[in-house]
């Protein structure tokens, strides 16, 4: 092969490598979309979320997941933005059954305004997850000291959600509301502390470790 032929082969090989590498990079950079909190009035914002027991859609139909509401539609994401120095009101629809917490320290609500959360209309500050229906999921922002529990629906519930996500409000669920006060701008990771990765040893694999399912980022923007 003459010289320009050789150069051609090398350039083609290099181009192939670059394309493959670029595709990997694009694949690895993929974030779930970010939802902005709805503004109620100046200094207050709202975020609405739900937790589904099984996503029932590709790519991971058996995984539990959070979803966040944007406007009227539910988005499959765990990334959201809230304004700084504001009160942020969370409403969460919890469709999953519960279990005891691995660390019962998180039985107690922490980091919310008033130190309480509102469960189906009643203000509570502690849930004994070791008895009764247990806790389905928690929402915790360790860097801000926030830890809130979402008790589970009964194991004998008549109408559990088995549809593909998002679950409609007609299914059995618990409704939890709480408020936190945000501080300076920053990016804070949040996660669930109930090891609910079904089938994974220790329960913390799978959805627990995957962005967009059971953990995410709260971005506080100025």
């Amino acid at each position: 092969m003459n010289k320009s032929g050789r150069i051609g082969v090398i350039v083609a090989a290099a181009a192939a490598v670059v394309i493959i590498a670029a595709s990997f990079v694009v694949y690895l950079l993929a974030y779930p979309p970010s939802v902005s909190a709805a503004t109620v009035r100046s200094g207050e914002a709202e975020v609405t979320m739900q937790t589904v027991p099984a996503y029932n859609l590709e790519p991971e139909p058996t995984w539990v997941s959070y979803m966040i509401k944007q406007g009227d539609a539910w988005v499959h994401t765990t990334m959201f933005e809230v304004p700084a120095h504001s009160l942020v009101h969370f409403t969460v629809y919890q469709y999953d059954t519960g279990s005891p917490l691995r660390n019962p320290f998180m039985n107690q609500v922490a980091g919310t305004v008033g130190g309480t959360e509102n469960l189906n209309g009643k203000d509570i500050s502690i849930v004994n997850a070791n008895v009764g229906d247990g806790v389905g999921h928690t929402f915790a922002i360790p860097a801000l000291g926030v830890s809130v529990l979402f008790p589970g629906i009964s194991a004998d519930a008549k109408n559990p959600c088995t549809d593909p996500a998002p679950c409609a409000e007609s299914f059995d669920h618990n409704t939890i509301t709480f408020t936190i006060k945000t501080g300076d701008p920053g990016t804070y990771s949040w996660q669930c502390f109930v090891p609910c990765g079904l089938g994974y040893p220790l329960g913390n694999g799978g959805p627990m470790s995957t962005l967009g399912y059971m953990n995410g980022f709260m971005k506080v923007v100025a």
């Binding site: 005891p100 691995r102 004994n128 070791n130 008895v131 360790p142 470790s209």
Partner: protein, 344 residues
């Protein structure tokens, strides 16, 4: 040692002169550098001075740095000297290169080298072992039965004179339990100044590592293991806490800042925590060396294991792990025996 075949223009200096020149340059640089390293750099070396263990590690760092300095300088000075003085042009044609002297070895040099390195290494070993003994493990996780313990250490919490802090690692945060204060569990690490502390580090899931950077404490949090580390705090100040063992996605997020306070402030704080968590404390599991969570709730208790068959040669069922106070009666003891088929 002969230098056979040395070309005329290099016969100016004898071996002894080369040795003297190299030695002199090296000595001068050492005399300048070593005190600089120990006295100027030393006090600023990590991990600083915020606990006796950290100070001890800092000194060890300084000693190692001082011993390393002449080693570095010797190699650098020697190679620099050699390249400068004994170089021939790189593009000398191969058939015109004259060979160097056929020196295959030099017994004196070799023996000196081996002796010096051996002595240095053994000396460092003795120094570090003494330091570990004097500083009760020098802040490292010393396992379940540390061999060097401070006065007042006891395997039972009741009899211990040290402040017991259990560090619980979980994916992905740290929590802390104080068995001497009703077994309260807190989200923040607060310690009194001037206090001998015993960290009992364990994990609920995978391997983490509790790293209190400026206190000089690093102890792996292993599930099912109580890893003990000792530290004696000094003055009031913050504590940088990190996780030093890859534990999953948010390994990097297991970072927080604790605080060392005065004894009175610590007392106030811990009583406040007990009051804040008084509804929670009965729901926590009984304080124990470690907690092995079971899939269907509760924690593994080996005393609940069925006894081994009579003729199996195995010892009888072991009692509950030692060191814990009598389990507090709580409405939570769902400690199941060996795990039933998983059905969560």
């Amino acid at each position: 040692m002969t230098s056979a075949g040395a070309p005329a223009e290099r016969a100016e200096r004898t071996d002894r002169e080369h040795v003297r020149r190299i030695g002199l340059i090296w000595l001068v640089l050492c005399v300048i550098a070593m005190p600089l390293v120990y006295f100027v750099l030393g006090p600023h070396l990590p991990p600083g001075n915020d606990s006796y263990q950290a100070a001890s590690q800092q000194q060890d760092n300084a000693v190692l740095a001082v011993i390393a300095t002449p080693v570095f300088l010797f190699i650098w000075v020697y190679v620099g000297y050699a390249v400068k003085n004994w170089r021939i042009p790189t593009d000398t044609p191969v058939d015109q290169i004259e060979d160097g002297p056929a020196i295959r070895g030099h017994r004196g040099f070799q023996i000196t080298w081996i002796a010096v390195t051996t002595v240095a290494v053994l000396g460092l070993f003795v120094f570090a072992t003494v330091e570990m003994a004097v500083d009760y493990g020098a802040g490292t996780g010393s396992g379940t039965s540390p061999i060097w313990t401070p006065a007042g250490f006891s395997t039972s919490v009741k009899d211990s004179k040290l402040l017991q802090v259990q560090v619980i690692g979980q994916q992905w945060r740290w929590t802390y339990r104080f068995p001497q204060y009703d077994g309260v569990e807190t989200a923040d690490l607060v310690l009194p100044a001037g206090q001998q502390v015993q960290f009992n580090v364990t994990s609920l899931d995978v391997i983490h590592s509790f790293w209190a950077v400026n206190l000089g404490v690093k102890a792996d949090a292993n599930p099912g293991v109580n890893n003990i580390a000792f530290v004696e705090t000094k003055a009031v100040g913050p504590v940088d806490i990190r996780c030093a063992e890859l534990c999953g996605t948010y390994h990097g997020a297991m970072a927080q800042t604790g605080q060392v306070m005065t004894h009175q402030d610590f007392d106030t704080w811990i009583r406040g925590q007990v009051a804040l968590h008084q509804d929670l404390i009965p729901q926590l599991p009984a304080y124990d060396d470690f907690y092995v969570p079971q899939t269907d709730g509760g924690y593994y208790d080996p005393s609940q294991d069925p006894p081994p068959p009579v003729d199996s040669g195995l010892p009888p069922a072991s009692p509950s792990p030692s060191g814990s106070p009598a389990p507090s009666p709580s409405g939570t003891d769902t400690s199941s025996p060996s795990p039933s088929p998983t059905s969560s």
